[in-house]
Symmetry: C2
Subunit: 169 residues, 2 copies
């Protein structure tokens, strides 16, 4: 994006919040803003790695999800629920993946409303390669220490559960 700033803009924002008498929520504001920015950085890294494969993160996530499905196929509404995105986003991703011959739509055997998405051979191969690249270039070089990773998983897991993403655990 550009040259590093001399100072942390989020720390500055936190100081501004405190200076305006919002000290009680300044820290959560900073934490939330930091999450937003971190997501942006991570997404950019991921997309950079996926670009040579002709994939975006949204499409990769769908390929990866399908590659773990027992039968290699999933109903679109299942994919939407598991990826936690709007059904129209799945429609969009499937349209593009289907055009690239990485997945195929097929009719559900018993429910006429439902459309199944299935990996093609090419799709399965590409998913493997893309996953290897992400593991090597992003997940394997996250920069988070093992303790921090565990802490993030735990804290954000609680947050997501409380937000209604899932029950149990």
């Amino acid at each position: 994006m550009g040259t590093p700033l001399p100072r942390d803009p989020i720390a500055d924002a936190q100081r501004n919040w405190e200076r305006h008498g919002w000290g009680d929520v300044a820290a959560p504001m900073a934490a939330i803003t930091a999450i937003m920015r971190t997501q942006q950085i991570l997404l950019a890294r991921i997309e950079t790695v996926l670009k040579p494969f002709g994939l975006t993160f949204a499409r990769y996530e769908l390929l990866a999800l399908l590659s773990f499905a027992r039968s290699g196929a999933l109903p679109m509404n299942k994919a939407s629920a598991l990826l936690q995105v709007h059904p129209t986003s799945v429609t969009n991703a499937v349209d593009r993946l289907e055009k690239a011959a990485l997945v195929a739509r097929s009719a559900h055997p018993t429910d006429g409303r439902t459309t199944l998405i299935e990996l093609t051979a090419d799709g399965r191969t590409l998913a493997k390669k893309a996953t290897a690249a992400l593991n090597a270039e992003v997940f394997g070089k996250s920069g988070f220490g093992p303790d921090d990773v565990d802490h993030l998983i735990r804290v954000l897991g609680t947050f997501r559960r409380d937000a209604g993403d899932f029950t149990e655990e």
Copy 2:
């Protein structure tokens, strides 16, 4: 988005990673995926609170930034750097804010290339109201405990510094 899932989809993904022999990067993968999903949840909450004000998060961030500027005005490139977004994203936000009469463009006194963005009186008022709403409805109810907030600020701060966002501190 819909009904809660019976199980945490990210924990499932982590198990899938381990089952496929990628155990060494399964945890960072889960942490990164959790950050992506958490950002999505937080963004949705923020946009819900801002909607009554006719603002999106991108536009609010610009208003808030301007409201903290000494003179109430900033060059567009400064805003782009401080918000850590692409210059075209600032152009886009300013276009819409200007149309809503919340900010105004003006020429830089000495540099003909530069455009200054300045808050209007309406813009300043709306920024105050929107900030109060966000403080009350989002930052004040983040769901993160004080210790977790501190940890997030520290860990993500290090990550952002290492990613080249800023130097020092």
